[in-house]
Assembly symmetry: C7
Homo-oligomer: 103 residues x 7
């Protein structure tokens, strides 16, 4: 069984899926002081690495995604499929699991 | 892994989602006396901080939300995703989880 | 965190929701004698305090509710969200949880 | 909290709901002899006391019910909401829970 | 509470429902020898006693059933509502629970 | 209760159902050597004995099946209703439970 | 019961299904060093062996798949039906269970 080589640049999501690089979040006061947060209330954040072509409409056309590569996003905990590549954590999500853009 | 900076003003909800600042509710009699309520019957209330562009219709257009920034709302307990920012509690909800406006 | 002031008159239900003042039910014989009922078979009754504008149809128009303010209704036990205001019990329900009008 | 007066004649079901007076079933042989049945296989039977105006179609019109006041019906066990009025048992059902007419 | 008289001939199924007289199945070899079967693999078979007028289509017309009175059918175990009448077992089923005709 | 006689030739599936004779699968190497497989990874295979007329479309027409009598198929474990006839095992399946044709 | 002969080349998926040869994944750094991954975060990868003709649209036409024979794919753990043929592992999946192409 020949192994399939994986690298971040080769992952091309299908349909309305997006490939997200998981990130930590930090929060600064107006004065620039970093605020500690309770871990259990930390939102899941990440940066879009790749986006799918969008879901097909009933007439065969596609509904392009509202999210672009490079967008920073907040997404549903427990959603999607976790993948580790190059020592970094990634997650494959459906666009509907993206709650907000936080650019 | 570079951290993503979060602040309330950067949260832009997607689709039919709204970003709500959680609030306490108080109730006054006509004469202005504050009434104590049983905690378990206290409604969840908050103020809309940001609204999404609305869900897409089948023809690709969007159905604008019925709620606007600044509206005070009553929403379903257990709905949505809790987030703490700047020492305040927020929740990301779908518009359908908003039960009533209480401006 | 500033508290949001709640009073019955400010609750404006969204969509097909209605705001109902919970009531007790009583039953009289033709001759006016009050009948005791087994508590577990007592229907949930109440009076409509406020109604939403109705659900949106697919074309963006709204389907007005069949229930009006002042209607006395019988509704599904366990449905909706309970709220206590001014010492009285209220419930926020979807119109589909209203079983019958009992004016 | 003023009580709401209930009587059978005031119950007006909404949508596709029907108000049914629960009945016992009996079965006679051709010769008129009453047959005992195992209780667990006894069908739930009743007589229609009131019918709703029917469900709304997508175009806002209504689909009138196929059942009329006075019809004797066989319905799904466990379906609907039980109500006791005037010492009699009633049940509020959706028309889809009516299995057969047994006039 | 006056009892409702039930007899097989008065059961008129609604919608896409059918009224089926439960039967035993037997199996003969080409030479006419009766074969014993494992009880747990015996299909549920019966004969159609009455059929409903069919489900309503979206335009209000009806989709007539593909099954007629007298058809012998094989149906899903656990489907439907069992009824005993005149010492015989019957079952009220939706047409979709009929797997095959075995006339 | 008269028994209903069953034989393979009388089973006429309804709708999109198919009647499948369960089979064992075997696998040969290019050189013709029979390979043993782990039982738990053996696919369920069978041969189509009879096919239904197809599901009704919304306009009342039928969508003919993509499978024909005699096709050898691979199907979902746990799907369908098992039946034993003439000492052989059969299964009644919906066409959507057929995973692949393996003629 | 005659056995059905199975070989990889005879498996023709139906509808929107694909037949995938399960593979191991490996990951190399830019410098070509193979990285060990935690087993529980290893994505499921495989190569498409055969594709179905696509799901039928409501008008009877088919929606061709976006995936072709030879594509390397990342798919949902727990999805599909596992099959072992010729000493190799395969899986029959719906196209919607394919998360991304990783050619």
């Amino acid at each position: 069984m020949a192994a399939i080589s994986l690298s971040v640049s080769t992952v091309k999501p299908l349909g309305d899926r997006v490939f997200v690089k998981v990130s930590a979040s930090e929060e600064k006061t107006v004065g620039g002081i970093l605020l500690p947060d309770a871990a259990q209330e930390k939102p899941q954040v990440g940066e879009i690495s790749a986006v799918g072509p969008g879901k097909r409409n009933d007439d065969g056309s596609r509904q392009a995604l509202d999210i672009s590569v490079g967008d920073k996003v907040l997404y549903s905990k427990y959603a999607g499929t976790d993948i580790k590549l190059g020592g970094e954590e990634y997650v494959l999500l459906s666009e509907k699991d993206i709650l907000a853009i936080v650019n």
